[in-house]
């Protein structure tokens, strides 16, 4: 394994001070389920001399409701999200995604902050958090800034985060009553599987079945998960019916190909992402 010095952060302030001092020479470890593999493959930049452990910080482990927002500490594990009553009540779709990550062992260690910062194209919680319009709280020294999760994600395995910045929290507005969510992960097996594709949909309709709010994030089919906003706009304000849902499925498939280009896997992925979209919309929408 790669060589490094190891410092266990005493608290959040200590972790931020260490980052300020060491900058690009330091790397944060939380659950470690991605980083330890990189260290073993000696793939981490040689510039990194020190690993700072934040897995021990209770300050980063919380799920709470504040002024209509659900706030999750970056060090919260996937298992903790699955078990949280607050998440089960307010965003069961996030619990669904967190529960599909890796294995029970991985979910006991891996954190939501780590899932975001690793920025894997096939991250499972990221598409759902995007659909929840999540905001990331970043700490640098004693200063704090907030960015949308969308802005934080820069590309595959890349985030717009300075070397001396730390992700401390992710939060999102509680969904209105009657909102419905759906997450489905398509993988090669049922457990310890990476998403081949996933689909996340969240929708709110009025009593006339008019779509008031719709959010759609296909996962693992674009360089980083993104909301398919043109499809959302097409659906928004419409009355849900089979024709509309069919059109949305086709649009999602076409847009995926526009983004990624035609690949060896496209003949498979195009009809499947279409079907997954139709399935998701049929699940979250009441149809005429």
């Amino acid at each position: 394994m790669q060589e490094f010095n190891f410092i266990k952060a005493k608290n959040l302030t200590d972790a931020c001070n260490l980052l300020t001092e060491l900058g690009s020479k330091a790397k944060i470890i939380a659950g470690g389920t991605d980083l330890i593999i990189e260290l073993r493959q000696e793939k981490l930049s040689e510039e990194v001399e020190t690993i700072i452990d934040i897995s021990c910080l209770d300050e980063l482990k919380y799920i709470r409701e504040e002024d209509g927002f659900v706030k999750i500490g970056a060090g919260t594990t996937h298992a903790e999200i699955v078990r949280s009553e607050l998440i089960q009540e307010n965003a069961p779709v996030l619990a669904e995604a967190a529960g599909s990550v890796g294995s029970p062992q991985i979910r006991n260690r891996g954190t939501v902050g780590g899932n975001i910062i690793t920025a894997s194209p096939c991250a499972d919680t990221v598409p759902v958090l995007l659909a929840l319009d999540a905001v990331a709280v970043l700490k640098k020294g004693d200063k704090t800034r907030e960015v949308s999760l969308e802005e934080l994600l820069a590309g595959p395995y890349k985030v717009n985060l300075a070397d001396d910045e730390l992700l401390t929290e992710i939060y999102f507005k509680k969904l209105p009553g009657g909102a419905k969510g759906y997450f489905y992960k398509l993988a090669r097996r049922k457990a310890v599987a990476k998403s081949r594709m996933s689909i996340t949909a969240i929708a709110v309709q009025d009593s006339d079945k008019k779509i008031l709010d719709i959010r759609l994030t296909p996962g693992a089919v674009t360089p980083v998960p993104i909301r398919f906003k043109e499809v959302e706009e097409m659906l928004s304000g419409q009355k849900a019916d089979a024709e509309l849902i069919k059109k949305a499925g086709e649009m999602v498939a076409d847009q995926m190909v526009n983004i990624t280009g035609y690949r060896w896997s496209t003949d498979y992925k195009k009809p499947v992402i279409n079907s997954l979209t139709v399935r998701a919309l049929n699940s979250v929408l009441e149809v005429e």
Binding site: M1, Q2, E3, F4, N5, F6, K8, I29, G31, G32, T33, I36, I37, L39, R40, I51, D53, S55, C56, A79, G102, S103, P104, Q105, I106, N108, R109, K190, A191, V192
Partner: protein
């Protein structure tokens, strides 16, 4: 690379060690003689190195030793009673024929233990979920699931 000092408990016993920080919990446990902790894949997929860390199952290949500071670790060696009496899970694995080559067994037992510590009446799907991070290359899953059911029954009866 500076060595670090780590204090932690394994099977109730205190350990104070000085070690290179690029060792994993798995490496250290085996160096300390806890050979029930197996290395299979080394990337968190096979579950052969599963131990309980503060009561939660983790892949010990996915924990840097420094992260185990202050932790209470339980390995399969810690299940045996003081008088050498096997744990109901160990008895059940033998009785149900759930051990073939044996390499996955300690991990399977530790994963099942986390489940039974919380739930002595698990459904079959809860058992399958509990061992979903553990691979058995002999593919004797049926007997393993039977063993966990049998262990749950033994533990209920002994309560």
């Amino acid at each position: 690379m500076e060595k670090i000092k780590v204090n932690f408990k394994v099977n109730g016993k205190d350990f104070r060690i000085e070690v290179s920080p690029n060792k994993r919990l798995l490496d250290v446990l085996r160096d300390l003689g806890f050979m029930g902790v197996k290395e299979g894949c080394g990337v968190g997929e096979c579950g052969a190195c599963t131990v309980l860390m503060n009561g939660k199952k983790v892949n010990s290949c996915m924990v840097l030793i420094g992260q185990a500071e202050g932790a209470e670790i339980l390995t399969v060696e810690g299940l045996e009673g003081e008088d050498g009496q096997l744990h109901p899970l160990q008895e059940a694995f033998i009785e149900a024929g759930a051990v073939q080559c044996g390499f996955c067994t300690p991990g399977m037992i530790m994963s099942s233990l986390e489940l039974l510590n919380e739930n002595l009446n698990p459904t079959e799907s809860e058992i399958r979920e509990a061992i979903s991070g553990n691979l058995c290359r002999c593919t004797g899953y049926k007997q393993i699931i039977d063993a966990v059911k049998l262990a749950a029954k033994k533990m209920r009866e002994r309560q």
